[in-house]
């Protein structure tokens, strides 16, 4: 599946591409409005990561073009402007999600994965987690047909890890994803440890390997091997 990053800051664009490139996704980049428009019209993308302020044009116009060409590519807006109005305008013009700069790449990964899943399978999808399957429409983890009880946070945590497979994810990014960024209690994120511990225990009890590895001082890495 192909992704397109439309972002005029080359450095940022490169980082996004490096992070998102995987067996599943191939990432392309466009740095200005005309190039972006050309690519969008010719190709089909699983998800377009779109900056609003572009040289020689506005990202919102690309959204409108997509609409006129009747394209159903998923669109994730990344913008420096975090105002409700911009968000509403973007979403009303046809974007699927909105992310404010600066963001964690892991958060971007999770959002992109969510959009791709929604677009490709209409949200009706099952993801395999080793011997287990995660049913996204029912939001349950199953071992065969046997459901494994997960709390809401554990479910979200697992999905977040799955969207950022084989990547180191910081505790900070996890806290922001699960609790929102207006909750900043302290500079220690140790309280997420209990959630991770419980999830790991449940996965291992269901016969999985230890998928979640702690990366010292940084965060966690989830890999299915």
């Amino acid at each position: 599946m192909k992704l397109l990053v439309i972002e005029d800051e080359k450095e940022l664009s490169d980082s996004i591409c490096v992070y998102l490139n995987s067996e599943q996704f191939a990432c392309e980049a466009a740095y200005d409005y005309p190039t972006a428009l050309e690519k969008v019209v010719i190709n089909e993308y699983a998800c377009i990561i779109l900056d609003i302020t572009l040289p020689r044009g506005s990202g919102l116009d690309i959204l409108k073009e997509l609409k006129t060409f009747n394209k159903s590519d998923g669109v994730l807006i990344i913008s420096a402007k975090n105002s409700l109005d911009d968000r509403i305008t973007g979403l009303n013009t046809g974007a699927d999600d909105y992310l404010t700069k600066p963001f964690h790449l892991a958060e971007l990964g999770a959002r992109v994965a969510a959009i791709v899943r929604r677009k490709s399978f209409d949200g009706n999808t099952r993801v395999s987690v080793g011997p287990l399957t995660l049913d996204l429409s029912d939001r349950v983890l199953k071992s065969g047909e046997q459901p494994i009880a997960l709390t809401k946070k554990e479910y979200e945590l697992l999905l977040y890890f799955l969207s950022n497979k084989n990547r180191v994810v910081t505790k900070e990014a996890i806290v922001e994803h699960l609790w929102g960024d207006d909750i900043d209690m302290s500079d220690s994120y140790d309280f997420i440890y209990s959630h991770i511990k419980n999830l790991r225990k449940k996965l291992m009890n269901a016969g999985c390997n230890d998928y979640i590895k702690a990366v010292y001082g940084m965060g966690y890495k989830f890999s299915l091997d």
Binding site: L12, A80, N82, K101, F103, L105, T170, M185, Y216, G217
Partner: protein, 407 residues
Amino acid sequence: MAVMVVLFLLSGICYYFLISYVLVHELDEALQDYQTRIHRYVDLQGKLPPVTGMDETRVSYVPAATSSKAQSISTIFISERAEKRSHNYRQLSYIQKVGRANYRVTIAKPIEGVKLLTRTVVGITIAMLLIVILTTILFNQLILRRLWQPFYDSLSAMKTFKLGRKQIPNFHPTDIDEFTYMNQLLEDTIANAETDYQVLKEFTENASHEMQTPLAIIRAKLDLVIQDEGLSEKQTQALGSIYSGIKRLNKLNQSLLLLAKIENNQFEQTIQVNLLESTQEKLDQFQEFWMNNQITCHADLHPATMKGNPELIDILLNNLISNAARHNKAGGAIGIKLDANELYIENTGPLTELDAARLFRRFYKEQQHSQHNGLGLSIVKQICDQLLISIEYTFSGDWHRFTLKWD
């Protein structure tokens, strides 16, 4: 005014005496005239003129022994039988030689007429003067009021002016050059101040916006760096510090942007917010964090609503409640009470009272090395001002309490 009255009285009195002096002098001249006429009559006829009673002038001749040149003029008092009244007279008496004989001639004219005239003249004059002065004062007042009306209009227009509202007061046009000039000057000054203020505000907003992209690049690069397997412990520690530095910078940026947006009235949409619900929601959200820090919370919530922007109210509650935990001590407590028109949030914490005067200022911190940017409470204050909520800080026992009241 008093000076004017005294002056007026003094000049009235002077005026009276002056007129009366002039008239008496006139009378004296008339008497001397009479004397000259008698003199001429005696010279021509050789005898004294006959006394006629028809005139108001009283003349009498009395034979005198001495012949002296002395003559005297005086004011005398003669009672008159016929009218049963007494009159003041001006009398000239002198010795007139007729042939060999000497007569004392006394000529008298009544002053009464003069007095009446004087009084009338003075009376009329004073009355006229009074009328003139009073009407002048009255007209002055009227004209002054009319004249200064544009000035007072401008003053009251200025009263409604507040910097940052983008409203230039409406000065009524006037046909008085000076006031037109003043209004023009006021308008220009206000417009300038307003522009400067806008520029300043936009600067904060733009600076914050511009900072977001570099921040995004740094964070994205960091996210890539940590994917590296061969990081040493030292490098990991350094990266951790960089992450938390960026987080603080980002938080600061967002707070500044939020303040700018509130000032720009970008949260216009208002609805009736169910405070009980939103407070309860916030408490549930924070519960997990508090349990982790052994902070207990006692909430006494009653149904309450508030009209305002839901986003702002959410930020308000969030800042106050997270502050209560952030500035708490280990094993401390938080108390929250919500009533129909009042909400207080109190917490244990440092044993010294906070500086209430500086508490809501931007970048105010109790401890300089604090990890927090000191904008939380100024955002709270700004939101309270926007939503017409009064906020008060009190410290009693070892409880720090913030009380919100609204209508």
